[in-house]
């Protein structure tokens, strides 16, 4: 749960987005301008111009629209109608001035001088215009959704072939790699120079957090500081890349994109009991550096790929959970609506996570900005609606449409079938048991007539031979008793939940989809053959009959020659850069469309994408190249002159600072306390009921008291652990390439008051006090040890004085209260203060 309060530094945010009391009271020029527009300009535009120049008019003379800012700024056949601030250069003004015989508006009569003056004044003010979207559709020039013309957009162009070593630079000593040359060239072009290298403590902390999400231990730091050779750095980088903790961090980056969760979310928040297998598959695959193209193919079509062993088959099946793990509206929905909604959710995920494209926009109409016509959307949707991720299963006493599961292991399918059969037949078994008991009662009363009637009606409630009245009544009684007992036993012992995985499968009758008019599932348009985005390739796809086309989709997504592979490589390279450097080369990491940002370093992006493809899609090798670059190693300090030129640090004149994500935050605290267990975990939700957020008070949820790494904590949609909510964990309902990094007061409350923080602080204090043998029991030595554990730093003299004085004083206060744990408590308060400090929360 994110508890978000208004915070002071965001006053600016409120000021901008929200209360404009400041805004209005101050009457800034912009407000003044808009007032002027509303009082003077709009009425006269409506009166004199809209008749021919508005989106609602039939005429649209000269192609010019004056009912929106976009309309006049794009202009008509003669170009922009207004140049804000430049009265004489504005066509609109010359037209109303009636000075140019070829351009006189309005055509019938010139406007009165005072009206012209109003327009002149308005243009001189910069033409402030609050009308933001009144005719957006109409002002489009050409057709933005045209897939062929759209190939000109930078993201769809072929990868550039930059020089292997990067561009020429002046400061030839600075670059350590081509990456650095690309960065430096841009800096030099802007008269900027890169920051100095970060000091080695800062660097080692940064590299540990970025690669494995944990701080280095004081021993690891000490070893690194002893050897300042490049080899020592390379050695650490390689160790970290090969450590199992690497996947626990980098796997989580993919899980953000895969909208991983342990429950369905939305209206019926059923538990995804099996989702953890997919989570662990991702972590393992990242650790094994499975080539990224293969990693994608297994997730899109793992169920359809060939396999040589049951183990491989199961891994691929688990991977194919990617499409099944999204949130779905489960109740109260038309099944056809649900099918389209599920496909839409999958397309949105594939589009943004893999291609950086907002495909979902083309569900209701051709994409307004990007070259994705509705036909392409439904060509892809056909593949997904020809696949299925839902099946009917028994859950909480009724048959429901639930996520599809498949048994794992050589006998998995039988076990799954037996399990489902039990729950499907349980109501009948219960009924049978009830009747068998009745039969027994009648039998005990020795009412032969009644029994005969009963047995005839309920043959399945009577044990074999019992109906035979010629047999010994004692034996019959015993047989029926045994029968009742056996029924009771089988009801009481449901089969164990077999190992299963969430999975996608091909539908029974794959088929092409019709375009849905206005996106409404029941309004059918033209049928479109299944296929891919034409902006990327026009190779027609051949889907064997009876197949969904998902396998073909998997190959197309990763094919660098005739498929979307180059785009996918760009998107991935950018994501890796974003995680390592702190900002994407394209900062809108999930949106490479026309509404996204342009790359700050396009050649570098293409260079990285090429490196990725050339290394057979090895994510680790690209990360290694970045982490060994000098760019990665810069310090993060502010520099006034550079800031004046590039305030957002887009060109990378320094390293970006980052606030720790919640996983690193928690793992680092537990690690300082010496209680973090880095071993992989299986399910952390197995103790929950089928309804993940039951209506009613269920205190079992959101457990975070496992000592495991945070990547294994429960991710219940709509009920995230407090820590996750407060520190901007990804919303697991949708692909999240870019988590927010807010700084809000609830984070302060969490660090000051949350029991988990205080527990970690106390454990750290106890650990520290027990460390005497190695570092001496002097408070100074302890403090140094603590700084090393928590901050990878040494205290300054000032800090040492202040903190030790605090310890002494606080310990004294506890002692005065006869607290037997005074020393631990005093140190725990210092530990907590360090955890809560910016030195810990902000990664340099």
């Amino acid at each position: 749960m994110k508890l978000i309060w208004r915070q002071i530094f965001v006053t600016a945010l409120v000021w901008v987005f929200a209360t404009t009391s400041t805004f209005l009271a101050a009457d800034s020029p912009a407000v003044e301008g808009e007032k002027y527009f509303e009082t003077h300009v709009r009425p006269l535009l409506v009166e004199h111009c809209y008749k021919c120049h508005s989106s609602r008019s039939q005429k649209r003379e000269g192609g010019l629209l004056l009912d929106s800012m976009a309309g006049w700024s794009v202009g008509g056949g003669k170009g922009p109608a207004i140049v804000p601030g430049d009265v004489d250069a504005s066509l609109l003004i010359s037209a109303v001035r009636y000075t140019d015989p070829d351009l006189q508006m309005p055509p019938d009569n010139a406007l009165p001088n005072d009206v012209v003056a109003v327009l002149e004044r308005w243009v001189a003010m910069g033409a402030p215009d609050p009308r933001d979207h009144e005719s957006a559709e109409e002002i489009q020039r050409g057709n933005p959704s045209d897939p062929i013309a759209g190939r000109d957009h930078w993201a769809f162009r072929p990868l550039a072939v930059p020089s292997q070593d990067g561009p020429a630079v002046k400061a030839i000593d600075w670059p350590r790699s081509p990456i650095d040359s690309f960065v430096l060239a841009e800096l030099e072009a802007a008269n900027l120079s890169p920051a100095e290298d970060a000091d080695r403590r800062t660097l080692v902390r940064r590299v540990y957090f970025q690669l494995i999400g944990l701080p280095p231990t004081p021993e690891q730091v000490a070893a690194f500081l002893l050897d300042d050779s490049e080899e020592a750095y390379v050695r650490i980088v390689d160790e970290l890349l090969n450590s199992p903790q690497f996947g626990q961090r980098w796997g989580r980056h993919w899980l953000d994109l895969a909208r991983y969760a342990d429950s369905n979310g939305l209206d019926e928040n059923f538990l995804f009991r099996e989702a953890w297998r997919y989570r662990n598959w991702v972590i393992d695959a990242v650790n094994a550096d499975v080539p990224f193209d293969q990693f994608l193919r297994e997730q899109i079509a793992g169920d359809l790929l060939p396999h040589e062993s049951v183990a491989q088959r199961d891994r691929q099946r688990i991977a194919a959970g990617f499409l099944a793990i999204g949130p779905k509206v489960l109740l109260g929905n038309d099944p056809n609506q649900q099918r389209m909604d599920v496909a839409d959710e999958q397309l949105d995920t594939i589009g943004r996570a893999i291609l950086g494209q907002t495909l979902g926009c083309a569900r209701c109409h051709d994409h307004k900005f990007d070259p994705i016509p509705t036909a392409d959307y439904y060509a892809l949707a056909g593949i997904l609606t020809s696949s299925q991720v839902m099946e009917r299963r028994y859950m909480l006493g009724e048959q429901r449409l639930m996520e599809q599961l498949v048994g794992l292991g050589s006998d998995g399918e039988q076990l799954d079938a037996a399990y489902e059969k039990y729950w499907r037949e349980r109501p009948q078994l219960l009924e049978q048991q009830k009747q068998a008991k009745s039969a027994l009662e009648i039998l005990e009363k020795a009412d032969a007539g009644a029994f005969e009637i009963f047995a005839a009606e309920h043959a399945d409630a009577v044990a074999e031979g019992v109906a035979d009245s010629t047999k010994n009544s004692e034996q019959r009684l015993e047989a029926q008793k045994a029968f009742v007992a056996a029924l009771g036993a089988s009801i009481a012992k449901p089969p164990e939940i077999p190992p299963r995985a969430m999975i996608v499968g091909d539908a029974e009758t794959p088929a092409d989809e019709t375009i849905r008019l206005a996106g409404q599932f029941d309004r059918h348009g033209e049928k479109v053959p299944r296929g891919f985005l034409r902006v990327v390739s026009d190779t027609a796809v051949e889907i064997p009959s009876g197949h969904s086309g998902r396998l073909e989709l998997a190959h197309w997504l990763t094919d660098v020659n005739v498929g979307a592979g180059r785009l996918a490589a760009r998107v991935l390279a950018n994501r890796i850069w974003y995680h390592m450097i702190g900002r994407g080369i394209v900062r809108t990491v999930d949106n490479f469309g026309r509404t996204g940002e342009m790359p700050s370093h396009p050649e570098l992006l293409d260079h990285l994408a090429r490196e990725l493809i050339d290394s057979s899609w090895s994510v680790k090798s690209l990360i290694r190249k970045i982490v060994l670059s000098r760019t990665f190693r810069m310090r993060s300090h502010h520099h006034e002159a550079a800031h004046a030129i590039d305030p957002e640090n887009r060109l990378l004149w320094r390293a970006h600072r980052r606030r720790l994500d919640p996983e690193s935050l928690r793992d680092a605290m537990l690690s300082a306390a010496g209680i973090l267990d880095v071993k992989p975990m299986d399910s952390t939700v197995s103790y929950l009921g089928d309804q993940a957020t039951a209506v009613g008070d269920n205190s079992n949820r959101r457990r975070t008291d496992f000592p495991c790494r945070s990547v294994y904590l429960p991710v219940i949609r709509n009920d995230l652990p407090e820590l996750f909510g407060v520190f901007d964990f990804a919303d697991p309902h949708a692909t999240t390439g870019l988590r927010s990094q807010t700084m809000v007061a609830t984070q302060g409350l969490f660090m000051l008051n949350d029991v988990s923080v205080m527990d970690a602080a106390e454990a750290t204090a106890r650990r520290l006090l027990a460390m005497e043998s190695t570092s001496g029991s002097e408070p100074e030595a302890r403090l140094d040890q603590l700084f090393g554990l928590v901050l990878t730093a040494c205290p300054t003299d000032d800090e040492r004085l202040e903190l030790l004085a605090f310890v002494a004083e606080t310990q004294k206060r506890f002692e005065e209260d006869s607290d037997t744990n005074a020393e631990v408590r005093a140190w725990a308060m210092v530990c907590q203060a360090l955890f809560a400090s910016s030195r810990f929360l902000v990664l340099e």
Binding site: K2, L3, I4, W5, R6, Q7, V10, A12, L13, V16, F17, A18, T19, F23, A30, A70, S73, P130, D132, H133, E134, A136, L266, D267, P327, L331, G332, F369, R587, T588, N591, T595, S636, H638, P647, E648, H656, R657, R659, Q691, V695, D697, N698, N718, L738, S740, Q741, T746, G748, L749, F750, L752, M758, D798, E799, F806, M829, V830, S838, V842
Partner: protein, 470 residues
């Protein structure tokens, strides 16, 4: 369906550069130092606010979880009673089916109240005395026949996609009037049926998410705000610890010269510390007079719990919170025994709600506080399980009071049986548009750029119901 909400990038950027708000959002990027801003900062600047004259400054939304029956409370249907027990023909309610079920007339007596003659049944005797302040909308309709879907639509306008909640939009649109409290507080919110999504911020900046106090299943008297108090340190010790933290932070800031994150962090700790005392002060009802407590039915049953919620809502309203939601527990879902069920549930909320309106009026707060009462849907005019009623999103009643609505007005109507809207249907999107309008916000202009396009609360729908506003 048409989206009127797109602008080409170039123009949007040009606009950013031209407007002060645009400058602000750029400044924000520098200030907040968040990379999330990368996408958001391309948001078109909000037009100056308010878009229209604001009638209300805040909203108190009284949510009746489960769905009260409109034909038993606000929408009397003598014809339904006349055919009670007989099939309700599809033809009579515009349905293709031969029969939509068996009619169940209301067991409750209705009467007209106040000078305006608003119809209210005997279930709400206290509220009836506030009739002239109420604007009853009888022609509400929505989609979603299951609670989860309908709750999400009521609170966020959408069910199959995660969208910001109404309160989050209001917080985003109006900001907060208080230095010590969030703009959006939800008292005892439901945990199920979408849970936090019903007061979430989705893609809006996280600060706009509702702050939850307790949850529907817990009596308010036992509810706490997470981490508002330290269980191990007394205030003096904690202050000394905070001073130490701030000293470390300030030293860090000095070393790095400029960093808005660290400055923000320092400010946040002070705010957090202040909130630790402000919140409990407001949440404590000890400074309220006996008369006030009685007005809300506090300290007597069955009104104590909801009375506390309503009184707390008033206190938050007084202290500058913009959007306050109060929720019942999941108790209005009477598939069986609608009569005793409704008697029991209305008794819990009638006096507290009437007390809230009266109290707001006495304090001069009602004129700029919009009170909204309603649920995710109504209940069928047809019987279910012998003596119950099923979910009914096709038609139901909500009412508003205060903040710029026309008191004593009954707006819209349903057919003779309460099955479907007859006159002036008001969709949930229309209600959302109207709530925003009352607050001075134009639902078509209150937009946020996300994933490449502008989003708004009402998607591509919604019409302001001007007739219910003064």
């Amino acid at each position: 369906m048409r989206c009127h909400q797109f602008l080409p990038t170039t123009t949007r950027r040009a606009m950013l550069q031209n407007s002060a708000a645009g400058f602000g959002s750029l400044a924000l990027a520098a200030l907040a130092g968040q990379q999330a801003v990368a996408d958001q900062k391309l948001s078109p600047a909000l037009p100056p606010l308010p878009h229209v004259a604001a009638r209300a400054k805040r909203v108190i939304f009284l949510f009746m979880w489960g769905g009260p029956s409109h034909v038993d409370i606000f929408d009397p249907k003598p014809q339904l009673s006349a055919i009670s027990g007989q099939p309700l023909s599809g033809k009579s309610v515009g349905s293709d089916a031969d029969s939509v079920g068996t009619a169940l007339g209301s067991p409750f007596k209705f009467a007209q109240h106040g000078d305006s003659g608003v119809w209210i049944s005997e279930l709400f005797p206290h509220l009836s005395r506030q009739a002239d302040r109420m604007c009853v909308i009888r022609s509400m309709h929505t989609e979603g026949s299951a609670h989860g879907e309908a709750l999400l639509r009521l609170h966020t306008g959408q069910a199959n996609l995660v969208r910001p909640s109404v309160g989050a939009w209001v917080s985003y649109g109006l900001g907060c009037e208080s230095d010590n409290l969030p703009a959006f507080i939800t008292i005892s919110p439901p945990r199920g049926h979408g849970g936090v999504q019903n007061y979430g911020s989705a893609f809006l900046p996280a600060m706009h998410q509702g702050t939850a106090i307790g949850s529907a299943e817990i009596p308010l008297a036992k509810a706490v705000v997470s981490n508002l108090a330290n269980q191990r340190l007394d205030k003096g010790l904690q202050r000394s610890q905070l001073d130490l933290i701030q000293s470390i932070n300030r030293r860090h800031l000095r070393d790095t010269t400029v960093d808005q994150n660290i400055e923000g962090l320092i400010a946040n700790y002070e705010l957090a510390f202040r909130m630790q005392s402000t919140m409990p002060q407001i949440m404590s009802l000890s400074d309220e007079s006996k008369e006030t407590l009685e007005l809300y039915g506090i300290d007597s049953e069955p009104t104590d719990n909801f009375g506390r919620q309503c009184l707390l809502a008033r206190k938050f309203a007084e202290n500058g919170v913009r959007y306050i939601q109060v929720s019942t527990d999941y108790t209005w879902d009477h598939h069986q025994k609608v009569q005793p069920g409704h008697v029991k549930e209305s008794a819990k909320v009638d006096r507290p709600i009437a007390g809230l309106i009266e109290d707001l009026a006495r304090r001069g707060l009602l004129e700029d506080t919009l009170v909204v009462w309603g649920a995710e849907f109504g209940r069928t005019p047809m019987v279910e399980n012998g003596d119950g009623r099923n979910h009914h999103p096709k038609a139901f009643t909500m009412w508003m009071a205060g903040g710029g609505v026309r008191g004593g007005l009954t707006y819209g109507s349903t057919d003779d049986f309460g099955y479907a809207p007859a006159e002036n249907p008001v969709h949930m999107h229309d209600l959302h548009a109207t709530i925003l309008y009352a607050l001075g916000l134009d639902h078509e202009r209150l937009t946020f750029r996300h994933a490449g396009r502008n989003f708004r609360l009402t998607d591509v729908f919604g019409n302001v119901v001007h007739d219910v506003l003064v």
